[in-house]
């Protein structure tokens, strides 16, 4: 009913369709879809790790380190789609060297670097004791690598552990606002472009922050359950239950905010609704209405409602949580697509739409996009050897 009202409430444009000649080209491609998607997972995963490290939520202890290292793995690849997109990637450092501070984008290098330093330091303090133990047990080249990692200092006693813990709390606390800024700022980049009706809203950066938390929680839950299924080990049910409930809550907030924004535009009946209604019910009908909102938002909401409100067999429950996490990962990816690409489909003349679909083997095409998206997961697999995420002993105890 709401959809019908939104559709027929707005005035329908005439049969005209016009683009300014330069609008035939889409400037921001699938690479710019991936960039906020990856930074969203970075910020979301870090916030989850901070729930344990800063706020002391012990239910999240089994997943806290995993969240932190995941954040680092994704962070290392966050700039790759941007560099691939830049027309002059060799001049990328100009953003740091000659920033134009009237531009929101000029802050990118500094925010990214600050966040990188915080995450690397927090990972280092979290794993310092483990590195020292491995240093003592290792031989040859590996021992030398660990010697570098511990910075030639193998002091590991109660005092150093207390200091490490203090630093982790401090860095985690500092990291939460920086993570929000990192991703909120991406939303701000879009929301502050008044020339684009689909983007221009002060709510954009809040929507981005909440969707980041959703994607962070979803990717952690999805990986956590998947890895334990693969290794045939038992998950910590308390952690999974708590995270799935949070995922449920945060996805409700994120989707509600997004829908409220559209409801507000449609209710105002300004001239922008005339073209945006055609965008939503025409160009983005499949990617936005049917898939992002219909299947992946409402679908995962219903599944998470089942797992959160009703009792069921743990095996089924975990499968449903894993399924809904995967669905929410796709929901957030589609949200990024619909924001980034959807906004560019609308002509600035407000008289028509352009079209876009990435090619398979282009420089900024599907294949390159998939590689950029998959590589952080492969890196995470190898990070497990350097920074073991899960305490296998405790898992075997719970068996």
């Amino acid at each position: 009913m709401l959809l019908c009202w939104l559709r027929y409430g707005g005035e329908i444009m005439g049969p005209t369709s016009f683009l300014f000649p330069n609008e035939v080209h889409i400037t921001w491609t699938v690479m710019i879809v991936l960039y906020p998607y990856i930074t969203g997972m970075v910020a979301g995963a870090f916030i989850v790790s901070s729930f344990y490290h800063v706020f002391g939520m012990k239910q999240l202890k089994p997943i806290a380190r995993f969240a932190l290292v995941s954040s680092l793995a994704f962070l290392l690849f966050a700039t790759v789609p941007l560099l691939n997109h830049l027309g002059k990637a060799d001049r990328a450092l100009n953003i740091i060297l000659t920033p134009n501070f009237t531009s929101a984008m000029s802050g990118f290098g500094y925010i990214y670097m600050a966040y990188m330093v915080i995450v690397i330091l927090e990972v280092w303090f979290s794993y310092r004791s483990d590195f020292i133990k491995k240093y003592h047990n290792a031989k040859g080249t590996v021992k030398f690598i660990y010697k570098i990692l511990i910075l030639w200092n193998d002091n590991d006693n109660d005092n150093t552990k207390k200091y490490d813990h203090k630093m982790i709390i401090f860095l985690g606390g500092l990291g939460i606002p920086v993570a929000c800024v990192l991703h909120g700022y991406v939303g701000f980049l879009f929301g502050s472009i008044k020339a684009n009706l689909w983007w221009s809203t002060p709510l954009m950066f809040i929507i981005f922050i909440f969707s980041a938390i959703v994607s962070g929680l979803a990717v952690l839950l999805w990986l956590y359950i998947f890895v334990h299924w693969l290794r045939k080990t038992k998950v910590n049910q308390e952690s999974v239950d708590l995270m799935s409930k949070w995922l449920w809550g945060f996805m409700i907030i994120a989707v509600t905010l997004e829908l409220m924004e559209i409801l507000s535009i449609s209710y105002e009946r300004t001239e922008k609704w005339e073209i945006l209604s055609k965008l939503i019910f025409g160009e983005l009908r499949w990617s936005y209405l049917y898939l992002q909102i219909g299947l992946f938002s409402i679908g995962s909401f219903l599944i998470l409602s089942l797992t959160s409100l009703f009792k069921m067999k743990t095996q089924y429950k975990n499968f449903l949580i894993w399924l809904s996490s995967g669905m929410l990962l796709l929901q957030v990816l589609l949200m990024r697509w619909n924001v980034v690409i959807g906004g560019q489909l609308v002509s600035k003349s407000l008289r028509g739409f352009t079209g876009y679909f990435p090619g398979l083997f282009e420089k900024e095409g599907i294949l390159v996009g998939l590689i950029i998206l998959i590589v952080p997961f492969i890196l995470l697999r190898y990070f497990d050897k350097l920074f073991p995420f899960f305490d296998s002993q405790k898992i075997s105890e719970t068996k």
Binding site: G14, P21, N22, W28, P99, N100, M105, A195
Partner: protein, 223 residues
């Protein structure tokens, strides 16, 4: 005064007229600024004017072709273009600009009930508080001292943020070069005392270009 006879009076009047004429001419020519020799400080006080008289445009596309040739603008990109507006009896507007009007317009009119039709040539507005220069993260988009919005292509990173910010779709990323591109008002020409290529090519004097003060006087007298 008693010594002045009729002949002397006429002589005095002629000298005075000649003096006034010479003075006026001298004064007028002093206002004519030679931009090619202006210092940077004087250039900052300087401003260009550009008016498009849509009532005179016939949509021939000569301006678009001249711009393409002068600035080596690649296919499917446009620094200037012409739009055709047709309004029928039901007040429905149809707008088109096939290939930016590079080859003018065909006669595929909207319908036979057209009550009004006109052409609108488009170009970068060189806004004073331009969104494109505000959002450029590296300061490659900038205002020249004489207030023309330009791009330093040796510094541009090709992020495309300016393209998104321009409300008139006057910018684009030249994918062959990898940097942003737009109308420069033919900066290389106007600083040699020439007019922009599009102005020069227009057969109907639709595009009027000049120094801001003088230009305003002309515009006032014309409209």
């Amino acid at each position: 005064m008693e010594d002045i006879n009729r002949k002397k009076f006429i002589q005095l009047c002629m000298y005075t007229s000649a003096g006034l004429f010479a003075g006026y001419f001298f004064g007028f020519s002093k206002n004519e600024v030679d931009v090619t020799n202006l210092s940077f400080e004087n250039l900052e006080k300087f401003d260009w004017g550009y008016v498009i008289d849509t009532t005179r445009c016939i949509g021939c596309g000569a301006c678009v072709r001249a711009c393409k040739v002068e600035n080596e603008v690649k296919d499917t990109y446009f620094r200037t273009w012409v739009e055709r507006y047709e309004i029928n009896g039901k007040e429905v507007v149809r707008v088109d600009s096939p290939n930016g009007a590079l080859s003018s317009f065909s006669h595929d009119n909207f319908d036979s009930d057209i009550v009004k039709a006109f052409f609108v040539p488009k170009i970068c507005n060189h806004c004073y508080n331009s969104a494109c220069t505000q959002v450029c993260p590296v300061g490659a988009s900038y205002h020249s001292p004489d207030k023309v919005v330009l791009i330093d292509k040796d510094h541009c990173v090709g992020c495309g943020y300016c393209v998104q910010a321009c409300p008139y779709a006057c910018r684009y990323i030249d994918h062959e070069v990898g940097t942003a591109d737009k109308c420069t008002l033919c900066y290389h020409r106007i600083h040699q005392g020439l007019e922009p290529a599009c102005v020069d090519a227009c057969p109907r004097e639709v595009r009027i270009f000049g120094k801001y003060v003088r230009f305003c006087m002309n515009a006032d007298s014309e409209f």
